[in-house]
């Protein structure tokens, strides 16, 4: 007999004061935090915790096939939903297998609570079986780590971990629980309130003076540009960003982590900047006179050589993390605060200013440069149409870009796309279509291969009603392929795409362009037949080697009610363009087309651009 329990009655039941084991306290506290699903893998030091799960249907746990799969799945869940991802592993090797996933989440500011077992407190420090100092190991790659010494502290520590993971700039927090603590039976008292140290809660509201200064700079700029990063997605600032861009007429470039902040079809959107960014985005950075970075951290893949980045521009930087402001780039207009709150304040300020603009015009020395602004928008849109992303399509071989375009076309910008790392990741960012935030999940900071597939499992669990497409290379697909079992068993309907070029494509690209064609250990020939691999796990497998086959099997995959792996056998020699080689400046971008590459140095480009402008007049 199934009984239906309301949220309130469940909460009441969970809050009941009684004597409980540390493990039961842990599960109750997680449920009270609103955790929908924990991704984990059992082991000796967490046996009490798994014992407490037995016969506890309210607590949902997904058994992955590797701890790395668990942490990436929790990460994908968190990135796609905005909630906290939770994973669980045992001590020693279980914990160390999480490290890559923890560092991945940390670099991209993803809120995770990572629970590890440890050996009993009596054995800590004795090199006991499966003992590892996971808090020490993860200290440089996690937001924080908490060791639980007494079962009485467990509920409070878990609550603290959730609060720290989400406060200010989010990140992963480790909670390490010794075996005797999870076993101990104590009185359960749920701490309704917890005190967070001030360092965990940076001011979210921006300083009014800083906002006024930035608003004035925006009004007076002739060539403003918005650089929107992952912080805009994280803080739910996309709407405020769009309002600012459209209200003030400012073009926007979104970083890899910032995709979806502005719909792909918006005329103000210039695409991604940086190493594999669009011509329009990089030119705009080179030519702007005010660069407003919001929730972006000037990653080297975005800026390339700093002495060639926005040299003619005043820089404004809006970030919740004060340590990011001025870290790499000298900032003229610093705004420490939450991206959404800051952009909303900025919009209010600009809207008030617009009303009083007439008065300003009368004021000596204040001139709104409207003509310059519209000329700037015209230039930017001329770059967009003159140099769109493009590739040479073929009827003989399947091009990887074609596959990505096909996925975008058929899912209409509504799918959640996760990627692994490498060429396919850049093609997904370039040719994919992301119309809303939290639609592209990718390891931007750490660049973790093996992230693409398990993160999609977490994203699908968090978004059961959306199409989730996981785009992988044939290299990364083999780094967490074991999680196919999870998809098959739970019928998690992820569409698993393998962009199969039989090589480590991005490494090959660098060896071709930078290491003079000395190809070293990039041949992935001899990889398994991915269709058979999927079938071996009980996941439907399909293959396409031409455009016609691609369209047919992709339609079949989308119509399939369950997980499908599609092996797209693509051109082995395709390169990702545009490209700014490492150690170069943004102005040195290669378009991958020998005719245009000859005249892409800035001077001739500027001239060409000036010519166009002249012509337009």
């Amino acid at each position: 007999m199934e009984t239906i329990e309301t949220k309130e009655s469940m909460r009441e039941r969970l809050l009941r004061r009684e004597r409980l084991s540390g493990s039961e306290i842990l599960l109750r506290t997680l449920l009270l935090e609103g955790v929908e699903c924990v991704f984990g893998y059992p082991g000796g030091a967490v046996l009490y915790i798994y014992d407490a799960m037995h016969g506890n249907p309210a607590f949902k746990h997904v058994l992955t096939r590797h701890e790395q799969g668990a942490v990436h799945a929790a990460d994908g869940y968190a990135r796609s939903t905005g909630k906290t991802g939770v994973c669980l592993a045992t001590s020693g090797p279980g914990a160390t297998n999480l490290v890559t996933g923890i560092a991945t989440a940390h670099m991209d500011s993803v809120p995770l609570v990572v629970i590890t077992g440890n050996v009993a407190t009596t054995l800590i420090g004795t090199d006991a079986f499966q003992e590892a100092d996971i808090i020490g190991i993860t200290q440089p790659v996690a937001k924080h780590g908490l060791f639980v010494r007494h079962a009485e502290d467990l509920a409070g520590t878990i609550r603290e971990a959730f609060a720290i993971a989400n406060a200010g700039r989010p990140g992963p927090v480790i909670v390490d629980i010794p075996k005797d603590v999870s076993a101990a039976v104590v009185e359960f008292v749920y701490p309704e309130r917890i005190e967070l140290p001030p360092s965990a809660q940076p001011a979210a509201n921006p300083d009014g003076e800083a906002i006024r200064a930035l608003a004035a700079a925006i009004r007076l700029a002739e060539r403003p540009l918005l650089l929107s990063g992952g912080g805009v997605i994280q803080s739910g600032a996309a709407e405020a960003l769009a309002r600012l861009a459209r209200g003030a007429g400012i073009p926007v470039t979104t970083t890899l982590m910032g995709m979806g902040a502005l719909p792909a079809g918006d005329p103000l959107w210039l695409g991604m900047p940086g190493m594999h960014g669009t011509y329009a985005a990089n030119q705009a950075i080179l030519q702007c006179d005010l660069l407003v970075a919001v929730g972006a951290r000037f990653d080297d893949r975005v800026t390339m050589r700093l002495d060639g980045f926005a040299q003619g521009a005043a820089i404004a930087h809006v970030d919740i993390d004060a340590a990011e402001i001025g870290k790499l780039v000298q900032v003229d207009y610093p705004v420490q605060g939450d991206a959404r709150l800051s952009l909303e304040a900025l919009n209010r300020e600009l809207e008030i200013a617009a009303v009083t603009a007439q008065a300003d015009v009368a004021q000596a020395g204040t001139r709104i440069p409207e003509a310059a602004r519209s000329a700037w928008l015209a230039r930017v849109s001329a770059w967009k149409s003159a140099y769109p992303l493009r590739y040479r399509d073929s009827d003989d071989v399947l091009k990887p870009q074609y596959v990505i375009e096909m996925i975008a076309r058929t899912t209409g910008g509504d799918a959640i796309v996760t990627t692994d790392v490498g060429q396919h990741q850049m093609w997904a960012a370039q040719y994919g279509r992301f119309d809303r935030p939290r639609s592209l999940l990718t390891s931007g900071g750490l660049g973790t291969m093996g992230f693409g597939f398990p993160s999609a499992i977490g994203a699908q669990i968090g978004n059961p009603d959306r199409v989730v497409v996981s785009v992988n290379g044939d290299g990364g697909m083999q780094m967490c392929a074991q999680e196919l079992a999870v998809c098959a068993i739970h019928k998690i309907p992820v569409k698993i795409v393998v962009i199969n070029n039989r090589t480590l494509g991005m490494i090959k690209q660098w060896q071709e362009l930078v290491y003079e064609g000395r190809f070293s250990h990039i041949d992935l020939g001899g990889s398994p037949d991915f269709v058979l691999l999927a079938e071996a796990y009980g996941v439907k497998g399909l293959r396409a080697e031409s455009k016609r086959e691609a369209e047919a099997v992709w339609a079949e995959a989308l119509a399939t009610d369950g997980p499908v792996l599609i092996d797209f056998v693509v051109d082995k020699d395709e390169l990702v363009y545009p490209m700014v080689p490492q150690g170069k400046r943004l102005q040195d971008m290669l378009l991958g087309d020998s005719d245009t590459d000859k005249d892409t140095d800035t001077d001739s480009e500027n001239n060409a651009d000036e010519d166009k402008k002249e012509g337009a007049r």
Binding site: Q139, K143, R169, G326
Partner: protein
């Protein structure tokens, strides 16, 4: 622009807090000359003094990064205000009885204290800023230094 700076960091006494602070310094490549730690005026909190070299901008970065650590309560940059800086140094010298008087003369000039005397050795204690202790060591070099122990500088605003 590689001036010496002092950062006074108030931390919660939590396991691993020193590891977190020192790990931050090494991970981010900051030049730290010394770190001293001890109890503070607040229960359950310690105060850590880091002597660092770098430009104002670098120091600002270190302070911002430190403020992000969950167990760090506050960070203040002492060099921007007049401060007192002190380091305790113990030095064991090999001193044959014949040279004792000469050594004592040096020690008196530096206002140091002899804290232990053996048949052919002497232990002296010096308190001062780093430059004073360095100068003392230069003068003592001729007398056979056997062992040096320095606490690193601690500091407080006036």
């Amino acid at each position: 622009m590689n001036d010496r700076h002092y950062l006074s960091v108030l931390v919660r006494d939590r396991p691993g807090v020193l590891q977190r602070v020192s790990g931050l310094f090494s991970r981010r490549g900051y030049n730290i000359d010394s770190v001293t730690v001890g109890a503070s005026e607040l229960d359950g909190h310690s105060r850590l003094i880091a002597a660092a070299r770098g430009s104002e901008r670098e120091l600002g970065q270190i302070a911002s990064q430190l403020r992000k650590l969950i167990d760090v309560v506050s960070v203040s940059h002492l060099s921007v205000r007049p401060s007192v800086v002190r380091e305790l140094m113990l030095v064991r010298l090999s001193v044959p009885p014949a040279s004792r008087a000469a050594v004592r003369a040096v020690i008196e000039t530096f206002r140091c204290v002899v804290v232990d005397v053996g048949p052919a050795t002497m232990m002296i204690q010096s308190v001062g800023d780093r430059e004073k202790n360095d100068a003392l060591l230069t003068l003592l070099q001729d007398y056979g230094i056997l062992e040096i122990a320095r606490t690193g500088e601690t500091a407080m605003t006036r």
